[in-house]
Symmetry: C2
Subunit: 352 residues, 2 copies
DNA sequence: ATGAAAGCGCTAACAC
DNA sequence: GTGTTAGCGCTTTCAT
């Protein structure tokens, strides 16, 4: 209370601690702590006293002190590639939702293909700043420092896999099988000359999708024509699709259909073709991969292989939540491979 | 060293602390702490001893202990609306980059228009879990708990403003002026009958953009025709644009141009028109707002008003960094309003 | 059912 | 230039 004429004392508004609450409620700090964590183990009257003291003081437990003592920060680190595309937006959404519900905060990190950023985040983990890690990227983390991450912190991988390790949970799709299915669909629509635009081949997913394309071509006995594989994608992005269009126009014997390793590649490719008067799907059919937001809104709406991004995010988060709750690897890691689903829209037509 | 026949002792691999490093280097913990924080204030020989001890032990300072002691977590909270659209992806990218460079981690939170989520994050702030907050959303945070956020934590706003407060830094654009400019451009191309698809009018930005539309129409003396304002957007999304298409088709006297309050609205609208055989821009011109990634790749490429999202992110982060570094409001808040830029592409044609 | 007390790992006065 | 010491705010035995 400020008395008339009395200048406001320069007292810094000291943050209220558990001590203040204890004093006010006439109990010990231990009791306050208990009343918060295990209300049922405190007498009803005491509990009331504590809670009103909390309300009156506006007390909020200090996170750092709690973390220090409890050796748990209630935070997870979500590592994303962080280059451009918005493929990961719904994933991050799902993750944040599940983690927040589970009482965990989400610290994000963009690795940006940079070694120094990876070591930076490895340090974050070693500093005990997070209770778990979710690596959401096509790129297997380059290890070195990463291997020295304490085993006590559970780590999960999404959309890609480190072959031959059981220490991570993995949530991904069968990129190879789904890609083969996409190409098989093209074949079922009568296409025989089918091209492929791979993603950046440094990533496992892109290589798997290329593998699936080859599988499907080979199994029907079509020749595997290298001139129909338009490499050189820098990424899963529009620009890669536009670049591939050059390969298309350079070709004498043009394909009737194209399987792009990602929707954005497909969209960039389609745009480049339309600009030069090539009709889609009248002249060339196109199928993508991912089913991102824009696929359905493009003209023509893109036929594509859907990855269940939201579901994968939810499952991965729930698994990590479970593993974090179990002290010391009480719960084994899981490998979950979800099915993709062909979404037929307008960009593929039947020929013959 | 494991001796033959001796079973591995069940010792938990105790995390290495500053104590271990001190012991190994033959110095006090204070010296280790100093060698890390202010290397120049420690004798070269000692410094070397400390650093090799650190290397040998693989020591990483514990974040919680440091935060508790230093009363600073080196983390910021970035609050996003978290509903669907990927408008914020590049913003988040820019923020993460600048904050990480500045030595801060980024905790994300999606408010999802939910009061309980806002109070949740208010609690995170009060728990001292972050040193600063960036509210990146068109929605002014509903206050209540929020006002009780301690003044010691600097808060900044992006893309929207709380009128009449100096306690936040604000980074936004002149939505009204830029919208008026967009409509003026349409007028300059000979359009006289111009419609508008507003965003969800609960948000300040959407109302400002609507205001700009009205300004531009009025200033040239055109009648302000309510039948040309197609309200009912649930959001800045495709669906809103598709819904607006119904209004378009229901109209006898059709407009020759449409100003959409966001690119995604514009794209949804265009798609719906094209589906019914209406040519863009041959029959109707469309202009958007934002210049998101897909604007340039659509067919026709969308003419739109660009918001400098990356730059706004960088500036906002830098400002917050500065304010967090200054103890106790040493640095005043700023109001930064960046210019938008008209990006002319293919979706508007000149008439007459 | 509750309290006393120890201590999580670190930093920052303050001495020397 | 370096060490001693006193906590930061909380949880958790261990008593009572």
């Amino acid at each position: 209370m400020r008395t008339l004429g009395t200048p406001e004392p320069e007292t810094a508004p000291r943050t209220v601690t558990i001590q203040d609450v204890a004093r006010r409620a006439g109990v010990s700090t231990a009791t306050v702590s208990r009343a918060i964590a295990l209300p049922e183990r405190v007498a009803a009257a005491t509990r009331e006293a504590v809670f009103s003291a909390i309300r009156e003081t506006g007390y909020t437990p200090n996170a750092a002190a709690r973390s220090l003592r409890a050796k748990s920060t209630k935070m997870v680190l979500v590592l994303l590639p962080g280059i451009g595309n918005s493929f990961f937006t719904p994933v991050l959404n799902a993750l944040e939702e599940v983690f927040t519900e589970g009482g965990y905060g989400v610290l994000i990190g963009y690795t940006r293909q940079s070694r120094s950023r990876e070591t930076h985040y490895a340090r974050v983990i070693r500093a005990g700043q997070v209770d778990g890690v979710l690596v959401v990227t096509g790129n297997v983390p380059r290890d070195e420092e990463f291997v020295s991450v304490p085993d006590t912190v559970p780590v999960s991988l999404m959309f890609s896999e480190v072959p031959g390790t059981a220490q991570f949970s993995v949530f991904d799709v069968d990129n190879r099988g789904a890609s083969a299915d996409a190409v098989r669909y093209l074949i079922s629509q009568g296409h025989r000359r089918i091209a492929h635009i791979p993603g950046a081949e440094s990533g496992l997913e892109a290589r798997e999708r290329l593998g699936g394309y080859c599988d499907a071509i080979r199994e029907v006995g079509f020749p595997l024509d290298e001139s129909l594989i338009w490499r050189g994608a820098s990424n899963f992005d529009f620009a890669s699709g536009e670049r591939a269009a050059k390969d298309f126009f350079a070709l004498d014997d043009k394909p009737t259909a194209v399987f792009a390793a990602a929707d954005e590649i497909a969209l960039g490719f389609m745009r480049a073709l339309k600009n030069r008067g090539v009709g889609i799907p009248s002249d060339v059919s196109v199928i993508g991969f991912d089913d991102t937001e824009y696929a359905v809104h493009y003209d023509p709406a893109l036929t594509t292989m859907r990855q269940p991004r939201n579901e994968m995010g939810r499952l991965a988060a729930q698994d990590l939540l479970r593993r974090m709750a179990a002290r010391d690897g009480g719960i084994p890691t899981s490998k979950v491979r979800l099915p993709c689903e062909l979404v037929v829209r307008e960009s593929v037509r039947a020929v013959e």
